[in-house]
Amino acid sequence: MTGTDSMDDEQIITGLKQREESTFHFLIDRYHASLVRIAMLYISDRAVAEEIAQETWLKVLEGIDRFEKRSTLKTWIFAILNNLAKSRGKHEGRCIPFSELYYREDGHGEPVVPPERFFPPDHPKWPGGWSMPPEPWHNSPEDQILSEELKDCIQEAIADLPENQRAIITLHDLEGWPSAEICNVFNLSETNQRVLLHRARARVRQAIESYYRATMSK
């Protein structure tokens, strides 16, 4: 950070128009990593995603003098990125599939927790109850900070998700975008978005559980 902890759109736009480097510094600190992550929803190669994010910044700078504030600055920046990433992704034959067909192929409707962890429906005492309930995770104070290993584990779990689940969990839980905005970008209903989010979170939880189990048995 360069001494600018928070700036509103007005200050940022003025700063950029006046060619203040500290303003640009503030912007890239805040958004560049997000731009790369979102580009990677369309493009598998990190170097290409990085290039697209750079290209986005160039377009932001070139466009700032004409920026009409019809949307927030953030929305405008991410729209530029989306367009660049989408066309590049198409070029690579990659796009995020959100068709109904893809849902079905994606195991939509299958349970998010393996059925063998529950008693069968005809169990005399606990039909549908946990037979292998989750063990509490030991959140010692040092666990509050994300260890590199656990971070890698979560990152890998997200990378392994089907593309549409990966897109939703990245935008919703990682970038903190509001659901309505995500639905808008992908032309998705709130219900379908929640289904994807639900499946994605369950898979990531599962990965964390396996991680904790492996470290405990060490």
Binding site: E21, I28, Q54, V113, E135, W137, L174, R201
Partner: protein
């Protein structure tokens, strides 16, 4: 209100709808009634919350200096 209880197997499928506040009032009551009496599901719900928190932490990644230098060069060339 006479609510049909839910099983653990059903509970885990409702977690996201619950957290996003999109369950019907009846389903929410069933969900919470189950939560009050089931340790396994309480742990599961907590862990999904923890999963969301940890996933959010990934966004705190710092910008590597090489990337920053490259971007500042873009800025200086444009300026």
């Amino acid at each position: 209100m006479n609510l049909q209880p839910i099983t653990c197997k059903e509970f885990v499928e409702l977690v996201t709808d619950y957290l996003e506040g999109s369950l019907s009032p009846e389903d929410q009551a069933r969900f919470e009634a189950h939560l009050a009496v089931c340790d396994g599901c309480e742990i599961y719900l907590k862990q999904i919350g923890e999963t969301i928190r940890l996933t959010g932490k990934l966004s705190e990644e710092q910008l590597p200096p090489e990337a920053k230098d490259k971007l500042l060069k873009i800025f200086r060339d444009w300026k």
